[in-house]
């Protein structure tokens, strides 16, 4: 498997409705290396999110195979932070551990350390209504990190935010993922976000989605997403992928 931690082969998904069969994903394959950040872009409604739903086990009826290296686990982060308003920030972050019956003093301390490290120390016992949109998204990320997944599945994680906090939060999330040595697959419709965030960008066709092209992103002086936007290659990638996406108004 030469340091691939996830291999997806010929993934396909067809939804059954009373009137018709809808093919959402067709012959989708990918491999993910340890520590790699991968983005999937494609026209809206093409079935990008379906791929993540299948990967994290929300959809069970699919074709093809998904191979995960031994001992590796997945964590899912959604577009909405979906914090539970009636729980404190800490209790929100402990949800996954409670459900997996792995909550003990060690795992709890791990979550508290994450919250302390990423600037939420003063909010551990607050309720979500006290937090800004960006902070809520950071809490959502820590809630996902709490179960120590190796691969993060990010489903349009920033699109519920306004454009300014969006940039800041994507930078934020990038740093956290790098610092915690995670791999990630991000689904987005924002090209600039995908290019500035990831090592590779997969471009999908319209529904049923299949892979149109895979770009390896090589930026000179690559650092964090906000700075990556200033690299000289950034615009070339942007124009190239934009044309491939072939948007119609």
């Amino acid at each position: 498997m030469d340091n691939n931690i996830l291999i997806v082969n010929n993934l396909g998904k067809t939804y059954q409705t009373i009137n018709e069969e809808i093919k959402a994903v067709d012959n989708f394959s990918l491999s993910l290396k340890d520590g790699e950040l991968l983005s999937i872009v494609g026209p809206s409604g093409c079935g990008k999110s379906t791929i993540l739903s299948i990967l994290c086990g929300l959809e069970t009826d699919y074709d093809g195979s998904i191979k995960l290296s031994d001992g590796k686990t997945l964590g899912y982060m959604l577009q909405q932070d979906s914090l539970f308003e009636w729980l404190t920030i800490l209790d929100n972050c402990l949800l996954g551990l409670k459900i997996n019956h792995t909550l003990d003093n060690n795992t709890k301390q791990y979550v508290i350390n994450l919250l302390n490290t990423y600037g939420l120390k003063d909010f551990i016992n607050s309720y979500p209504s006290c937090l800004s949109g960006g902070m809520r998204q950071r809490v959502a990320l820590i809630r996902t990190l709490a179960t120590k997944p190796d691969i993060l599945l990010l489903d349009e994680p920033f699109s519920a935010l306004d454009s300014q906090s969006r940039l800041a939060v994507s930078d934020d999330v990038y740093r956290i993922i790098k610092k915690e040595h995670k791999s990630a697959i991000m689904v987005t419709h924002d090209l600039a976000e995908a290019i500035s965030f990831s090592d590779r960008v997969i471009v999908l066709s319209e529904r049923p989605c299949h892979i149109k092209n895979i770009h390896t992103i090589n930026l000179t002086n690559a650092s964090t997403p906000i700075k990556n936007r200033e690299c000289k290659e950034f615009n070339n990638y942007y124009n190239l992928i934009w044309k491939e996406l072939d948007f119609h108004v």
């Binding site: 086990g57 964590g75 899912y76 909405q80 979906s82 009636w86 949800l95 459900i99 997996n100």
Partner: protein
């Protein structure tokens, strides 16, 4: 600490509040005064229309004989019993419906029929089956409030934000875990709203039951009054009922505020 403008602002709010309460009391006062005046001067027949003075006399007489508190006690007791039963059973059934949607699908038409049926039509059967005593009043009130409790609580359960369910599913949560961590605690507001409807429905059921079978309670007081053509008694009963209903509503409101405050 406050600026002059802020003080002015607070003063204006306070003034508005006082104005509203004054007017509310004024309406009540004028109503009572007018009623007394019209019956004193014979514009309304005080035998049929009663009068504030007569109502007060009746209430005092009832209170002195100990009957008033006894009737209020009986009605409250019946309401609280049927309200509690409807709440517990209703939430339980709604939970079963959420956990096993197929059960809900199967039961749905019967629930709809039971909901549209005027439950008072079942009164005679209940009296025959359960007997002309307090338990048949409770069964009647229970039937009225239970169906609505099930429907309202279940409605709020199924309208839970799907993204939150998706989140728990991504942690491999079982159906029961989703219920325990999300569906129940996330719908406390919906449940309290159902209880608000439930308490007034229980009271309606109890009074209806008392009309049909009882020998005690406020409903009985009103019914008895109309049978012996003592309108003072009828109107006194209605006024007591108004007060009882208001107090019950205030208690539920108080509980709601307590629960919401704990969350902030």
């Amino acid at each position: 600490m406050y600026s002059y403008k802020h003080k002015l602002f607070l003063k204006r709010i306070r003034r508005k509040k006082i104005f509203i309460i004054t007017f509310q009391l004024l309406i009540l006062f004028i109503f009572i005064l007018l009623w007394q005046f019209l019956s004193d001067y014979g514009y309304i027949n005080s035998f049929i229309g009663s009068s504030p003075k007569r109502v007060l006399q009746t209430l005092i007489k009832l209170y002195n004989s100990g009957d008033l508190l006894k009737h209020i006690y009986i009605t409250c007791l019946e309401t609280i019993i049927s309200f509690s039963l409807a709440t517990v059973i209703g939430i339980f059934i709604a939970s079963i419906y959420w956990l096993f949607p197929i059960v809900h699908k199967i039961c749905e038409p019967y629930l709809t029929i039971m909901n549209s049926l005027p439950k008072i039509a079942l009164g005679p059967i209940i009296i025959i089956w359960v007997g002309a005593k307090m338990s048949s009043i409770i069964v009647m009130a229970l039937l009225i409030s239970l169906i609505l409790t099930i429907i309202n609580v279940h409605h709020s359960f199924v309208n839970t934000d799907y993204n939150k369910i998706k989140l728990l599913k991504s942690f491999n949560a079982s159906n029961y875990q989703i219920y325990r961590y999300l569906i129940f605690p996330g719908n406390i507001n919906g449940i309290i709203n159902a209880l608000k409807v439930n308490i007034s429905m229980s009271l309606i059921g109890v009074i209806m039951g008392e009309f049909l079978v009882s020998k005690e309670g406020i409903g009985y007081l009103i019914m008895y009054g109309s049978q012996v053509f003592n309108l003072n008694l009828v109107i006194s009963g209605i006024i007591v009922l108004c007060i009882v209903a208001t107090v019950m509503f205030l208690i539920i409101n108080f509980i709601e505020n307590k629960l919401i405050k704990n969350k902030k």
